[in-house]
Symmetry: C2
Subunit: 229 residues, 2 copies
DNA sequence: GCCTATTAAAATATCGATATTTTTAACTGT
DNA sequence: ACAGTTAAAAATATCGATATTTTAATAGGC
């Protein structure tokens, strides 16, 4: 791997396990357990956890260790609303400012994403790949916005949203033509029609949020019915 | 102090020293130096640095330690613009939503701030106090917005802006009637006039950014002339 | 039975020592 | 003088051991 240090390795592995849901929300993250899971020492793991707490992927309480950051329907709505606002603003700035190499990156990342989205037999491995390519496409669209802080905040919200997105993705793939949404987004961007692109991204994010909330609601209904039975 | 652990203490002290400028931008943060500065062990300091890197107050490169995050005129503009946008949105949500206890907090924090701002003989200690009370007042105004993520992002940008603000504050106090700006902000909020409050906060943030950029420009001119001489 | 106090176990936080890597300094031959 | 090489010093990263705190278990009193 390309990790210079064990701290970076721990950071990368932990992050991936949290965002993907392999480490469930609210799970107590005991050092000893993580030490064994990743075959790393305690120090690198502690530092990785400290870093992740700065990104709000883990909560950290003095003398009481840490947990995977909680997830909730309210939080899903909140993140969705914020992401919608920030993505829209970034597009408004990026689309008029994009140059030739921006166009190239948008087109390339779209086509790489499309290849996976159009594939008929999507296995579990493809989903991990889809997340990466989807992230790159959205990143490419806003990359020309000229504001490092806007990009940073966008990236933060995108990653948080991804955690929720993964919950509902299996169903989403069946009921939504995401590739079509992405195509229209790319076309509006290349036509330099910022307001059209903003409308599309807003609906895009809203739909994702709705799907996530549906999935969460179903889960919590399940939990309730299990407790009741 | 109320630090449960040494890591928290290191985090608090380091953060304060970076935001206040006592640790200059780009300064190499060597563990041994910090160990002596704060009389703490290496582990708590390393963890505090990892956390601060998550907040973009220090940069962190594998095997090569860390530095205080750089400052630049471009960055000042960027943060100012983002902060303006986020504060405005937060006020738009908070003002219609605020209840009685929100009003109380706004009024109380305003008066505590005013007491310091109206004091004729402002010493160095007062400036540290002013920063705290100013932060609490702005925090109080938006606290009712109902969006934890909006508040989090606002707080991040506010703190980053504070780093820059401190550069220009000495002069700002002389040329701007900040207390008057704060008073008008509070009155618009209590009148539930969100759009008026947004206008005021936008100008408020813009003026701060302009003052900061002026100060930075002057500094970099100085640096150039020193090199030239 | 239930609450509280005491103790045992587990987990976190932190130190000191060591291994690794980077940076600095000295050296060599051209 | 200078580029390239090597050795020494400094700094970072990491481990293992220990101290401290929290959590769990247990026993005693009401």
């Amino acid at each position: 791997m390309s990790d210079k240090t064990n701290t970076e390795k721990a950071y990368r592995l932990l992050r991936e396990d949290i965002v993907s849901g392999r480490l469930a929300p609210d799970l107590k993250l005991k050092i000893e357990m993580l030490r064994q899971r990743y075959s790393l020492g305690a120090s690198p793991i502690r530092e990785a956890l400290a870093r992740l707490s700065g990104e709000h992927l883990v909560t950290l309480e003095g003398q009481r260790g840490c947990q995977v950051a909680p997830m909730s329907i309210n939080d899903a709505h909140d993140i969705g609303r914020m992401r919608k606002m920030i993505e829209a603003e970034a597009l408004r700035l990026a689309i008029p400012a994009g140059n030739q190499s921006w166009e190239d990156t948008v087109i390339t990342s779209f086509h790489r994403l499309e290849r996976v989205e159009r594939r008929s037999d999507q296995g579990v491995d493809d989903l991990a790949e889809w997340e990466i390519l989807n992230g790159r496409f959205h990143q490419a669209l806003v990359s020309a916005c000229g504001s490092p802080w806007l990009l940073r905040i966008r990236s933060l919200l995108f990653d948080q949203h991804e955690r929720y997105r993964r919950l509902s993705r299996m169903r989403t793939v069946l009921t939504r033509d995401i590739n079509e949404e992405h195509r229209r987004l790319m076309e509006a961007a290349l036509d330099r029609d910022a307001e059209e692109a903003v409308k599309i991204i807003e609906v895009h994010v809203e739909r994702t949020t709705d799907a996530v909330v549906d999935a969460l609601q179903q889960n919590s209904d399940m939990a309730v019915s299990l407790v009741a039975s």
